[in-house]
Amino acid sequence: MISRRHFVATGASGLLLGGCDRLNNSAQFRGVLRDAERLTMGAQRLVVPRDALAREYGEADLSPIFRSNGTAMPGTSEYAQHLAENFANWRLQVDGLVSRPLSIPLQTLRSIPHRVQITRHDCVEGWSAIGKWHGLELSRILNAAALSTRARYIVFHCADRFGDKPYYESVDLVDAFHPQTIIAWGMNGNLLTVPHGAPLRLRVERQLGYKSAKYIQRIEAVESLAGIYGGRGGYWEDNADYEWYAGI
């Protein structure tokens, strides 16, 4: 019975599926789908005001357990060294198209007035978790570094690796200067734990979770994403074909 039902279902969907799989393998058709992604981003940029805030929740809404995702422990010896030192020598580099490159000690970042926001983290897989984040607005860091007018994207270089490839992410200046885009060092009233990106992670609250890169060591301002790693603006974008714009 199962096999017959399976056979009928296979036959019915086979025609559509065979076609879809073939289309999915065609670079031309994937290009058409990618155009639709640009349409989605364009439409969202049109209807979402530049500074529209992601919803901020109350303490009562916090997820009891905020699961981690992706890297739970960067496996490099450098990171192990930093962890052993309790990140005492961790610095945030800010370079690229800036007139004042910075190298900010972690302690300095943690000691200046910061923003606290309780927001929802939406994973591309479908789950959501609500957490409280403590960190410095990225806009303040970029202003301190005096961004060049040529800069179009901000790239985040991370300490973790997937296989032999370093994790990285990027956002455009709309999201980089958004008031809720922060370089977070704390979560739920404590310093970040390793699975959540200690000692520094990005929060981009109007995009999916994979944009909020963890273990950030270096922020680079660039004119184009083309020359960086796979050229698609992020680890998952390069290696799993995820959309660069993750607003939906």
Partner: protein
């Protein structure tokens, strides 16, 4: 056969079958939208089921992840390859298909609604009349459907009340709910239109409603295709392609 009629006319002359009357139904916008949707809805369902495979748990509320309590949960990747686009696990590709064809679904829905309100298709053909929504009439229609006695003659040219109710439910309830609950899952849209989160009481509730409405649309498709087969697939499908419908002759009066 009625006893009185049988005695009044003991000898029945074979009546030559009247030439089938061809009626026009389904205007061009309806036919176009129907076939665009027939393709789009299947792509949305199958790519959506692949996205569901990435996290096959559903929750109520603002948040929901592995340590929270789901109201529906499967292990592994529950949806088999024959029901997903693409057929092997690929969340990125499924999302590309889903979000690209969502545009076609939305543009089609909005265009159809505007056209059908202007050409009065909605008011004339889809809106139930006060008589039709009386429980007695609905119950009668349910019985007729259960006996597989479908309307003939002029009545076959109008939608019966069960058809009207199911089409209205899909067009005015399920499809708009799919669209809004889909948008409510977008973190950027939530920033712009926070009421999306309010009407569904949270992103994870919106995701659950998105899934429930998808299953309701799947159920509609199954019933719809069954009815097409039972009512005469060639005539029904032909009329949705050409707009020409062979009117089933009136049943002899009993």
């Amino acid at each position: 056969m009625d006893q009185a009629a049988a005695t009044a006319e003991p000898i029945e002359e074979p009546v030559p079958a009247p030439a089938p009357r061809i009626a026009h139904r389904h205007r061009l916008p309806t036919r176009l939208w129907h076939w665009v949707n027939a393709l789009t809805v299947f792509i949305m369902l199958m790519s959506g089921l692949m996205i569901f495979n990435a996290h096959p748990r559903l929750y109520w509320g603002q948040f929901g992840a592995n340590f929270d309590h789901p109201w529906l949960m499967f292990h592994g990747r529950p949806i088999p390859g024959w029901a997903t686009i693409p057929s092997t696990y690929n969340l990125a590709a499924a999302r590309r298909w889903h979000l690209a064809f969502a545009w076609i679904l939305v543009i089609g829905l909005v265009t159809f609604l505007i056209t059908s309100l202007i050409n009065r298709h909605v008011q004339r053909d889809l809106a139930p009349t006060p008589d039709e929504v009386k429980p007695k009439h609905i119950w009668h229609d349910v019985q007729e459907h259960a006996r597989l006695r479908f309307p003939t003659g002029e009545a076959a040219l109008r939608y019966n009340i069960l058809q009207k109710l199911s089409y209205v439910a899909v067009i005015f309830v399920l499809l708009p709910l799919m669209l809004l609950s889909g948008l409510a899952m977008s973190p950027a849209m939530d920033a712009s239109w926070p009421w999306l989160l309010d009407i569904f009481v949270g992103r994870q509730s919106a995701r659950s409603i998105h899934f429930i409405c998808a299953m309701a649309i799947l159920a509609f498709i199954i019933v719809h295709l069954t009815m097409v087969v039972l009512a005469g697939p060639l005539n029904e499908i032909g009329s949705m392609i050409t707009g020409r419908f062979r009117v089933p002759p009136e049943r002899p009066q009993q």
